[in-house]
Amino acid sequence: MISLRGLTKEFPGGVRAVDALDLDIGDGEFFALLGPSGCGKTTLLRTIAGLETPTSGTVAIGGADVTRLPPGRRDVAMVFQDYALFPHMDVTANIAYPLRIRKVPRARREEKAAETAARLSLTELLARRPGQLSGGQQQRVALARAIACHPKVFLFDEPLSNLDARLRLEARTFLKRLQRELAVTTVFVTHDQGEALALADRIAVMSAGRITQLGTPAEVFRRPATTFVAGFIGSTPMNLLPGTAEGGRLHVAGAVLPLPSEVPDGPVVYGLRPEYADLSPSPPPFGDGDAFSGKVAVVENLGTAHLVTLECGDHLVQAVAPEGEEPALGALAWVVPRPGRALIYRDDALLTAA
């Protein structure tokens, strides 16, 4: 549906925001561009919209090359981070604006606006100005305006970031349901990994203008391709510890762990999510070496669980302890990795799970 080939965007001054990028986004897919700020994700979205002209490469939407087409002729609708609702028009006029550009008669477009507004439960607000709406309502009006013009593709720039935390979760569920119902190909940009995991069918994790990993939320979460993705995805940061593979054993942060036989000897990075480790107040029965041991340095309350930080020699190892089982500060504790959940990286590439 959307095909990008060798897409490069270089800004004056030599900054390559998007670097020779290839990407195919399927029909009806809910697709996330995820990355830290400055990784080029917004530039990529704006290039798909036509607001930026690529330095080289092509953009095709629905099989047609649109690289040289102005944004208005690409049949896309974009929702901006600040929603960009026209402050001097009421909600009806805002929603009907795309139809006004298409010269739809006034009566017809007001009818259409009312229809779309009803679908997003905005009917009572039709006569209001954007300034008189709450953040959540403004977001729904911006969505309604995008829906009203029946585009082939929706482009959302940080659709939830201007909402406060509680509203954001509601809006997330709402957005996912809406996208399912409309079944319109949707690309959205976010820096919030939780948002990308929750909403998207597929995620492209970007850094420095390139796609570092492309996959479903489960793939990206379970098997991050690089330590950058590993560190970026997940609500608690993954433990990334330098270690050495030697004769089928892994020496890391004072622990000696079993290693799959295919890992050759040499330096590796050991990645373990705090959620995939069990915290124990006593050494595991099968030998001291199979767990990280250390003193409890920090205990952070996560609500239903606790994030515990252990000092293991020079390294910090984090694990999640279930509610009511958190250790005391300063106590000795052991972190036991769950089998098959740890990831072994070498030269910043995933080798295997351990």
């Binding site: 607001l51 208005g72 600040d82 026209f86 001097h88 550009i101 298409r102």
Partner: protein, 274 residues
């Protein structure tokens, strides 16, 4: 002790403010009283009420036509300044031109020279060669040229304050540049346009030198020039006519200011975040 000192401070401040207030209000008081005075002098006094001054002013054949000329010149200049300044400010605000700010500052600096006394001779020469002497167009073009840089400067500030995402949003929906300007940009900067229009009208209304030099025919002269003719043959000012005409001449600008201020409120977006 400190109470006494504070009291003295209050009295001093009040006296000073009263003096300043008197300094500024006396001329206005004169303007309000002299036109209705049978024998006005250059001092403000309680008038011996009469409307005779208005009657004798209207006997002057040029008075009414001069007001009409002022309206023509002011309206045409304001329209020209608003349209050109809006287009220029929009372009300068949205397109990256190297040396844009330097250009604006130089224009702004020169604009005070261009229509000032210093440039009057070349302007007159230019107007003569272009056959613009004795035409409203000549006056309008000269005055607009002088007002444009400042108008562009102020409007660019308004344009800069409007987020580009409004326009980008409209662009994605397929709006053409002219539609974006008409549907989005102009409504958003309307207070700025109103400010510029009022400011241009007030400037042209009060300008004397340019119309005085560029117009020969008293039938085309604006009020500011006709005011200068209200003297006796001996060369002494006809205070009755001058005061009456001054009052008549200043009223339209005051009314316009109040109207526009009510309607749009003069909002400068500059430094202050509202």
């Amino acid at each position: 002790m400190t109470d006494a000192r504070r009291a003295v401070g209050v009295i001093m401040r009040a006296t000073f403010l009263a003096a300043v207030l008197g300094f500024f209000s006396l001329p206005l008081l004169w303007l309000a009283s002299a036109p209705f005075d049978a024998h006005p002098t250059i001092t403000a006094s309680v008038p011996s009420l009469t409307l005779a001054n208005f009657r004798s002013l209207l006997d002057n054949p040029y008075v009414l036509s001069s007001l009409r000329n002022s309206v023509i010149q002011a309206a045409a200049s304001a329209a020209l300044v608003v349209v050109l300044a809006a287009l220029a400010a929009y372009a300068l605000s949205r397109v990256r031109v190297p040396g844009r700010d330097a250009l604006l500052y130089v224009l702004l600096l020169l604009s005070s020279v261009v229509t000032g006394t210093a440039a009057m001779v070349p302007l007159f020469e230019l107007a003569t060669r272009l056959n613009l002497i004795d035409t409203h167009l000549g006056v309008v073009l000269t005055l607009s040229g002088g007002l444009l840089p400042a108008a562009i400067f102020i409007l660019k500030d308004f344009m800069d304050a409007t987020p580009t995402s409004y326009e980008e949003s409209a662009r994605v929906f397929g709006a053409s540049p002219l539609q974006i300007l008409g549907h989005i940009v102009i409504p958003l900067v309307r207070p700025g346009l109103a400010t510029i229009a009022v400011w241009a009208v007030a400037n042209v209304w009060g300008s004397f030198l340019q119309p005085f030099i560029l117009l020969r025919d008293p039938d085309k002269a604006p009020g500011s020039v006709i005011l200068y003719t209200l003297y006796t043959e001996g060369g002494s000012p006809r205070l009755d006519l001058i005061s009456t005409f001054s009052l008549l001449y200043s009223l339209p600008v005051v009314v316009m200011y109040v109207f526009v201020s009510r309607r749009y409120g003069f909002r400068f977006h500059g430094g202050i975040k509202r």
